[in-house]
Amino acid sequence: MKILAYLKYTLAVFLLCTITSCFEVIEEVNLKNDGSGSMIFTLNMSKSKAKLASIMLLDSVNGFKVPSRKDIQKSLDEIVAELNKAEGITNVKETADYDNFIFSVSCNFKKIDNINSMTDDLWRKQKNKTAVSSYLFDASKGYFKRHYQYDVEAKKQYNKLKSENKKVFDDASYTTIYRFDKEIVSQTNGSSKISKSKKAVMQRVSALDIINGKGNLANTIQLKK
């Protein structure tokens, strides 16, 4: 049955030659007046599903080991386990659609600082000094702040990639959506837009802009008091 294995590899390699790839990340925060809320983080690679399905037929591609479905599930489960351990975080859920390659993790938080503590912990485990991103909500003053600091390391890591691997980021995007109970009076990020109901702010940045430091996710949103 060696011949079937050859056919499988030939098919996968030829598919990799032709199919394009890209992905999108969506970060959503729904914040209530009392500072509690929910957060959903989604990775949608559906547009690349044919390519990913081809890659999954191989052991490694472009020098990277291809994770199996089991590996992916294990990583997701680990994230969920970490979240469950975090203080103030409840109702942690994960979804994994392997047909369309869409993965998401959601949770509720008592206060937005619980998310910061959890991400700080994760960053420390990754041996990074400080998180590049955090949230602040001051209920008394009525503002929500998304702190974001460009990390040059992203560009360094990107530049280390071979040109064929860099292509993955060409059409990739990062979307943030913040929803509030109260109306928004103002926001400071030039590329973000306030919704018609004035209760949500959305920003879509290309992954390349984030890598190159052109895309800024920082924002201060003033809510009606």
Binding site: I3, C17, T18, N44, S46, K49
Partner: protein
């Protein structure tokens, strides 16, 4: 020293008076390879070689020492116009890998080796060597260099009598469970009676200072191992065996240099068949059975698999391979010889020809490549158990059980019924490229940035495949299709079926028509097959190749270059691959049906008209990919 060895082997592999060096190959060598420098230099001059990426890299590496500036590969003293040989020789205690490289100017050669190795040369009756040898022993005279690397047999040295003779420590001597060998060892190795001869060494060059670090290993004296730990014994034994290997290799190298023509391989008829004036390189393997048994012997000894009858499976099997570098193509011809028993099985298994009805569904203008396979399923199912039984038969522990199990499986299989479903011939076609609409999940946002999941479509360029397999009885397959339809895995379209596999990156269609199972990715192609409107086109060259081969594979460089959107693909070395495909013609492999006891395999890579010849073409490819 490593650099020296590498460069010597590199020179050898690229280039290296056939008669002279071949007479030095012992008559019991089991593998012999020859590289004909003269033939190669007709295709590429030394100057061209020096200017090539390959030549420049060797010169750059060897000039690093800075003491001697080499500007040509001729500066190393080798006779690039002559034939170099490699051979492999098996002894019960040690195996030898040896290279014989002709020397043109010994002074240049010695200058080269002393500069690179910083070793002192000693001479005895015109036979020269280094005072201190590495694991790869070097001995030479005025006209040729002999490199020998010996590796001792762990199996041989596991015999207590042998261990005692050579002063090895028994690693398991404290393990009471080990049964002492009662065998009387009769088959002493030829080397065991070697006595250190008193050699009056003549130092001919000693102006260099010693690089002491590299030679420390040489100086290791076998000590008394007071420490009784396993690892100390192991390491001690390892050093002792290494010292023996070196001593025996040096003796072997000197023997090779002194060997009279009468004791050489040149009178062996099978070896003579491998000689070809027109070939640039040849490879002759006398007996795979002996090689496998020897190579696997050590590892099998430790894994308890030593009773597998590997030797018998490959008994009387050998190989002759010839490389031809021509103006318009590179070609490797291989003749594999098998035993009468295996030939009988193989003849039965490959009795089936590829179904010529397949040709009605190939269009050469669109096709990028193919793979064909013609085997008789019935004969394979009948012959495999026989081969397996032979392999397991000599196992004292489970031999009977294995025999029974194989018979039982053979009893359960209805060879004829299976062979009717899939007769055993198939053809896999890279039939073209098409645009396919694929769906993906995206999001649509309302005015309040709440989103809903929507299914969108996009066009993807995908390669098309068509697999054809012969069937004499489609009843079972139709039953399978009915079942799959009930389970909603298969959907009936216009005379053909669509297979719904969620994990599959492509849609797959299939149908059964005129005793052929078709499975492919192009719906249009499948429709044409069912409707009988397939626009077939196939040249006699391909028809012949497909019909006369047990196995064949073909790739069209031009079609691949024109159809694959290589610039957009996210694979390694895109630019290099793009260059290669744009500078490549057809490449194919064919394997013939067995004739007598011989199976012939032919591998051909055609050379574009823009290239001077196949060797220069090969150098261009290497250069492009190495940079």
């Amino acid at each position: 020293m490593k650099k020296l060895l590498c460069s010597a082997i590199l020179c050898l592999s690229a280039f290296a008076n056939a008669q002279e060096t071949a007479t030095k190959i012992p008559s019991d060598a089991v593998v012999v390879a020859a590289v004909k420098g003269g033939n190669l230099l007709q295709l590429m001059s030394v100057n061209d070689l020096n200017a090539s990426y390959f030549g420049k890299e060797i010169l750059k590496e060897l000039n690093k020492k800075g003491e001697q500036a080499y500007s040509s590969l001729e500066d190393f003293g080798f006779d690039l116009n002559a034939t170099s040989h490699y051979f492999y020789q098996i002894k019960d205690s040690i195996n030898y890998n040896a290279f014989i490289v002709p020397i043109k100017e010994v002074s240049k050669f010695e200058n080269f080796v002393t500069t690179q190795s910083k070793k002192e040369i000693v001479s005895e009756n015109g036979v020269r060597t280094f005072k201190d040898q590495d694991e790869i022993v070097m001995v030479w005279n005025e006209s040729m260099l002999v490199l020998v690397m010996g590796s001792t047999s762990d199996y041989f040295f596991s015999d207590p009598v042998v261990m005692e003779r050579y002063g090895l420590e028994d690693l398991y001597s404290y393990d009471e469970a080990v049964v002492e060998s009662t065998e009387v060892y009769e088959d002493y190795p030829e080397e065991e009676n070697i006595e250190a001869e008193e050699i009056e060494e003549t130092v001919i060059e000693s102006t260099e200072t010693y690089d002491d670090d590299e030679d420390v290993v040489e100086e290791v004296v076998i000590e008394d191992y007071d420490n009784s730990s396993y690892y100390d014994y192991y390491n001690g034994n390892y050093e002792k065996k290494k010292a023996l290997a070196k001593e025996w290799s040096l003796k072997r190298a000197k023997d090779i240099l002194a060997q009279p023509e009468s004791q050489s391989i040149i009178f062996n008829k099978s070896y003579q068949n491998s000689l070809d004036d027109n070939a640039e390189a040849t490879l002759w393997v006398s007996d795979f059975g002996a090689i496998y048994q020897n190579l696997l012997g050590d590892s099998m000894y430790y894994t308890g698999l030593s009773d597998f009858n590997i030797g018998s499976m490959y008994a009387d099997s050998g190989m002759i391979a010839k490389l031809f570098m021509e103006k318009d193509k590179m070609q490797i011809n291989i003749i594999y010889t098998v035993s009468d028993e295996m030939a009988d099985s193989y003849k039965k298994m490959t009795s089936r020809k590829l179904n010529s009805k397949f040709f009605k569904y190939i269009n050469e203008d669109r096709m990028m490549g193919y793979m064909s396979y013609a085997m008789s399923t019935k004969a394979a199912l009948e012959e495999y158990p026989k081969i397996l039984k032979n392999l397991y038969a000599s196992m004292p522990m489970y031999g009977d059980e294995a025999d029974l199990a194989i018979d039982f499986v053979a009893l359960l299989l209805d060879e004829e019924a299976i062979a009717k479903v899939f007769t055993g011939d198939m053809l896999f076609l890279l039939s073209g490229i098409s645009q396919k609409e694929v769906t993906y999940t995206s999001y649509e946002y309302n005015d309040d940035y709440e989103y809903e999941t929507v299914e969108k479509t996009k066009m993807e360029t995908v390669p098309d495949f068509l697999l054809m397999a012969s069937t004499d009885d489609s009843k079972f397959l139709n039953k399978l299709i009915d079942y799959a339809m009930k389970k909603q895995v298969v959907v009936y379209e216009r005379g053909y079926y669509a297979l719904k596999i969620p994990e599959s990156p492509l849609a797959v269609y299939f149908t059964i028509k005129n005793g052929i199972v078709f499975m492919g990715t192009s719906e249009m192609e499948m429709y044409k097959i069912v409707a009988g409107t397939f626009d077939a086109k196939l040249s006699s060259k391909h028809k012949k190749m497909l019909k006369n081969s047990t196995y064949s594979a073909y790739l069209s460089g031009k079609q691949l270059a024109s159809k694959l959107p290589i610039d957009d693909m996210s694979l390694d070395a895109v630019t290099k691959l793009n260059w290669f495909l744009k500078n490549s013609e057809d490449g194919y492999i064919t394997s013939s049906r067995i004739k007598g006891n011989e199976i012939k395999t032919e591998m051909v890579i055609e050379v574009p008209a823009s290239e001077e010849n196949s060797l220069k073409y090969l150098f261009n490819i290497i250069e492009t990919f190495a940079k």
